[in-house]
Symmetry: C2
């Protein structure tokens, strides 16, 4: 993999995912901090050369090529590595968790955390439907892990990294992990893989 | 590909995507209609044997294997076909659009359509922020297509099918496609591929 620039915001789980994958694979990159709350991902230059969608994370190469969407970047960086299951059905399960993470998990767990951490909202002011959606997501992860060690097939994969990113900081969004013993053991196993 | 059952709700773009891919590839499947507004995707049997997440679409095989998330199912069914670009960077762009579709496009375009079509809401009662998010998504697609014929690389791919599903019915959600001439030409090209 050629050297790339990783545009990200420290504290964003979506950006952390990409950094974790790049680090675990020992890739050569520079982290470019993007102060998103100052509008830095909405400047003309950022939209033109990094991501027309105005979001982080994104990566760019010296050739000018650019790629956005955290899970797409992970898939690209990890291609051919053990982070992507070789079996087609296991790989499909990994895709399924990646899409579920972006559609169901992140919009509840990460959004509630952002409301508290970045907008200073209090628990009581947050829509209970959002809280319930996040609790349902955590409960589904817990039930899934009763039957399997990792989310996709028999090995640690991008599905675990993607789900780890916002789950391990879920308490910052007011979600207690105390009721989810199996989930907490999986968080520990995943942290070992990431720091191993 | 072994015979499978495709659990879907007629009128759902997410379900239509999977059907379009299965049809274009000539796969052998049975469509099982799931009346989601009657709670049919939340029965104990559905959660246990089809999708613990309680959503459509999902597919099951005679072996008992099950897979959910529209874009993950498409990736699985289309593996090895021309619907997935062979070049790794083009493929990564396809992934990027698939995630963008689920995270940014669908939650605005499809959700606004559902509020009008299924909940009987009127334009004036819908959060203007949702409308703006949908318009921004359509405008980004329009700008992208000024420079390229298809969304990922040089060929028609799953990215086009995924984005077509809810874009071609966007007017049912109160989004006029009139301002987006390039986008409308892409819709026509995509329809030709799907019906060709």
């Amino acid at each position: 993999m050629d050297h790339f620039k990783l545009y990200g915001f420290t504290g964003s789980g979506n950006c952390e995912k990409v950094r974790m994958v790049a680090d675990i694979l020992g890739l050569d990159y520079d982290w470019i901090e993007v102060p998103i709350f100052d509008g830095a991902s909405r400047t003309e230059n950022y939209l033109d050369t990094v991501n027309p969608g105005g979001q982080v994370p994104a990566i760019t190469f010296a050739t000018g090529r650019a790629l956005s969407q955290s899970n797409a970047i992970m898939l690209y960086l990890a291609e051919g590595s053990t982070l992507i299951p070789p079996d087609p059905f296991d790989r499909a399960q990994m895709y399924s968790w990646l899409f579920w993470e972006q559609y169901t998990h992140e919009p509840a767990i990460a959004v509630r955390r952002a409301l508290i951490q970045y907008r200073g909202m209090k628990d009581a002011d947050i829509d209970p439907a959002l809280t319930e959606k996040g609790q349902d997501a955590l409960a589904l992860m817990e039930r899934t892990l009763h039957n399997q060690k990792w989310f996709a097939g028999y090995q640690f994969s991008l599905a675990d990294i993607a789900l780890y990113a916002y789950t391990h900081v879920a308490p910052e969004g007011g979600f207690s992990l105390q009721p989810y013993e199996t989930l907490r053991r999986w968080l520990d196993r995943t942290a070992e893989q990431l720091n191993g």
